[in-house]
């Protein structure tokens, strides 16, 4: 298969959210001698960005974004080790730690944001719900995360957000981390009050906010989504 045809097929596999095909094509691309970094950038990343743009334009459903991101992840799993093996420039995605705060088991909003961020090329570590401060902190440390995203649906659990931010300060992690919060009762004023770096009202807003914050701060490595 020639390169052009390969990229076309990759495009289709991502657009259709066909994870199995996406992985198979990645393997085939490597076997046929194509540069895995090129395949990632010009094939998969480009495809995902197209899907993202179409979703933003209201042409696609959320599940299509999610399935496309899944296909991307599978391909990345095949390409990443090969890229590392060849010792070339890496594409280490920016890591975001997400969680719904302690005492709150509402999950769906945060999960949607997580899916959006993955589609945008971030690495997402989703800690789930009812996440206490210690787990947020240790995940940030362990994964050297650049972002923390916190969600709360209840005004009674919102105060946990401030506790996590304060603990990030205490442990000296705050300067290297951007904190974004969300949830139906959350407001910009509240985000400012507790010292968060931003807040978002829905998945699309969150994705754009994370992208603009990532672009504004010096990153350790380029995320696929930011690659020109």
């Amino acid at each position: 298969m020639d390169e052009k045809t390969m990229y076309e097929k990759i495009q289709v596999s991502v657009a259709e959210g066909d994870a199995e095909r996406a992985g198979d094509l990645a393997r085939e691309a490597i076997q046929s001698g194509l540069d895995p970094l090129q395949v990632l950038d010009n094939g998969y990343t480009r495809a995902l960005r197209t899907v993202g743009a179409r979703w933003e334009a209201g042409e696609l459903y959320l599940p299509e974004m999610i399935l496309a991101a899944e296909a991307m992840k599978v391909a990345l799993g095949v390409l990443q080790p090969e890229i590392l093996r060849r010792g070339g420039p890496t594409r280490t995605p920016i890591c975001c730690v997400l969680g719904t705060v302690r005492g709150d088991i509402h999950d769906i909003g945060k999960s949607i944001v997580g899916a959006m961020l993955e589609a945008a090329g971030f690495e997402v570590v989703d800690l789930g719900t009812d996440v206490d401060t210690a787990r947020f902190i240790s995940a940030v440390r362990e994964k050297k995360a650049s972002f923390v995203g916190m969600s709360a649906l209840l005004t009674t659990t919102m105060p946990e957000m401030k506790i996590v931010i304060d603990e990030l300060k205490e442990s000296g992690l705050r300067p290297a981390v951007r904190v974004v919060i969300g949830g139906a009762p959350v407001t910009r004023e509240y985000a400012d009050e507790i010292g968060a770096d931003g807040f978002a009202k829905d998945g699309l807003e969150a994705m754009r906010l994370f992208q603009s914050l990532a672009a504004a701060s010096p990153a350790k490595a380029a995320a696929p989504a930011r690659e020109a």
Binding site: W55, G58, Y61, L62, P63, G103, I105, H106, D107, I108, G109, I112, L154, T155, T156, P159, A184, P185, T187, E189, D202, G203, L204
Partner: protein, 486 residues
């Protein structure tokens, strides 16, 4: 004769029921509350301590269903305003619970205050459509530690109707029971005069919130009526198909029935409908979706099949202002829920998918629901109403305006009388020179100025204030006074 809408046939209802039993037995639920888990274990149900999953046997579900009362009394401070759910009458209540208030004069959306809640409550007390109170908005200037107690006290004070609300924490239970002592003389009288009822929302799929559930178990033991309202979002926290969302809602409801009937056999319960679709472009709750009427319809039929009253979600909208979208979405959801025979419809007063309170919208919703009530009332077609003799009497080419019977039936409510909608000539509308919003705002102003709420006896007001003061000694005195009217 009264109109009604039908959707499910008996076989479909049975399939949903069997499916729900299967989910509960095979997949189970998580209660999160140690108290709840203990009750289920004592009843011999399978509990996995690692996942904290409880699997519930079908025969236990059936036994608990049989304990549910068919009628649920929601008593009011003014007994003339008592509500009984399950008699076939369609009621409406305030929508709960928004976080923001829309100031229609300035167009500004802002975090709500206690003053907003008090005003909304006093306004609702005057409105014919509102059968009982559910705190429509969350006062952001009240400490979280006592907020739900303050919301309950605001209800007890600023309306004489039944108060329904949620309870967030087991720590609030003793204070609530003390309030029953103050208001009823003795908390044990609450069983016969339930002036307070609970709303509780499981978190789909198949989870209950630990703290709330523990508190509800404590109150179920006092026979406090419980509206169990799963909020399944089709395509996100429930299957994308409406049938799947219905089935999951039923499973979640039944898991609540089992718990609260084990806690207190015969505890009155209501099936609450919080389900709708997730909008697949924004990822947000879609209250105005036409799928909502279908979910209301199906779940109302299933609830009635179980012999339990149903609270539907109607007169609701995703619109952010009192305008065009709010009008059609609220009427569509409200009218269909009422025609389905839902025992109570919540939705009055909020915009933006239950998040944004608007006083002007509340008076408009009152009009909407009064219209809905007229439709539901139907009409009589007996000899008297057919008016054969009168038609003969008026004859060919006459008119009926001056006839005594015309006046008699008008006064008896044969024709709905609008209080908000404009009727009349186009010119009369031009001359009035007032937008719909201005009309609503004028009504809000007039009602708040003129309407007197039946006052709480001074001793009761003091008693409630004292309880709040103990629940949070740091709360400012003016806050206490505003909420408790003392």
């Amino acid at each position: 004769m009264q109109p009604s809408l039908r959707l499910m046939d008996r076989e479909a209802i049975c399939r949903v029921h069997e499916g729900a039993l299967d989910i509960l037995e095979r997949v189970g639920v998580r209660y999160g509350s140690g108290k709840a888990e203990a009750l289920l274990q004592e009843a011999g149900q399978k509990f996995d301590p690692r996942t904290r999953t409880v699997r519930i046997a079908p025969d236990l579900v059936q036994r608990c269903l049989a304990l549910l009362p068919h009628e649920v009394l929601l008593a009011a401070r003014d007994p003339r305003r008592d509500v009984v759910l399950g008699t076939g009458k369609v009621h409406a209540c305030l929508d709960g619970q928004g976080t923001f208030t829309l100031d229609a004069a300035t167009g500004v959306k802002r975090v709500s205050t206690l003053e907003d809640l008090v005003q909304a409550t006093r306004l609702s007390d005057a409105l014919e459509s509102v059968d009982y109170y559910w705190a429509p908005v969350l006062p952001g200037d009240v400490p979280d530690s006592v907020r739900t107690l303050v919301e309950a006290v605001t209800g007890f004070t600023h309306t004489s109707r039944h108060v329904q609300h949620e309870i967030r924490s087991p720590a609030h239970v003793p204070f609530l029971l003390e309030m029953f002592d103050v208001l009823l003389g003795d908390r044990r009288r609450h069983r016969d005069r339930p002036i307070f009822s609970l709303t509780v929302c499981p978190v789909s799929p198949l989870q209950h919130e630990a703290e709330m559930t523990t508190a509800c178990v404590d109150l179920a033991r006092c026979f406090v009526p419980i509206v169990l309202m799963p909020v399944a979002l089709a395509g996100a926290t429930a299957p994308v198909t409406l049938a799947g969302a219905v089935l999951q809602t039923v499973a979640e409801f039944l898991s609540g029935v089992v718990l609260y009937q084990l806690a207190q056999p015969g505890c009155p319960m209501v099936l609450g409908i919080g389900a709708t679709i997730l909008d697949m472009h924004t990822g947000l709750y879609a209250a105005g979706a036409p799928e909502l009427p279908l979910l209301n319809l199906a779940l109302t039929e299933i609830g009635h099949h179980y012999g339990v009253p149903v609270m539907a979600q109607g007169v609701v909208t995703d619109a952010k202002t009192p305008g065009v979208q709010a009008g059609y979405e609220k009427m569509a959801s409200g009218l269909t829920a009422a025609l389905a025979g839902s025992d109570v419809i919540n939705g009055l007063g909020l915009l933006d998918s239950h998040q944004l309170m608007c006083l002007e919208q509340l008076v408009i919703d009152d009009e909407i629901f009064r219209m809905i009530r007229r439709v539901v009332r139907g009409f009589e077609a007996d000899r008297e109403h057919l008016m054969l003799d009168l038609i003969g009497e008026v004859g060919i080419g006459g008119n009926f305006l001056g006839k005594r019977s015309t006046l008699k039936y008008l006064k008896a409510g044969e024709h709905f009388q609008p209080r908000f909608s404009h009727r009349g000539s186009y010119d009369s509308w031009l001359r009035r020179n007032q937008s719909e919003l201005d009309t609503a705002r004028e009504q809000v102003r007039r009602i708040l100025k003129e309407h007197g709420v039946l006052a709480l006896p001074a001793e009761a007001a003091r008693g409630l204030r004292e309880i709040l003061g103990r629940a949070d000694p740091s709360m400012p005195a003016e806050r206490l006074a505003m909420g408790s009217g003392a």
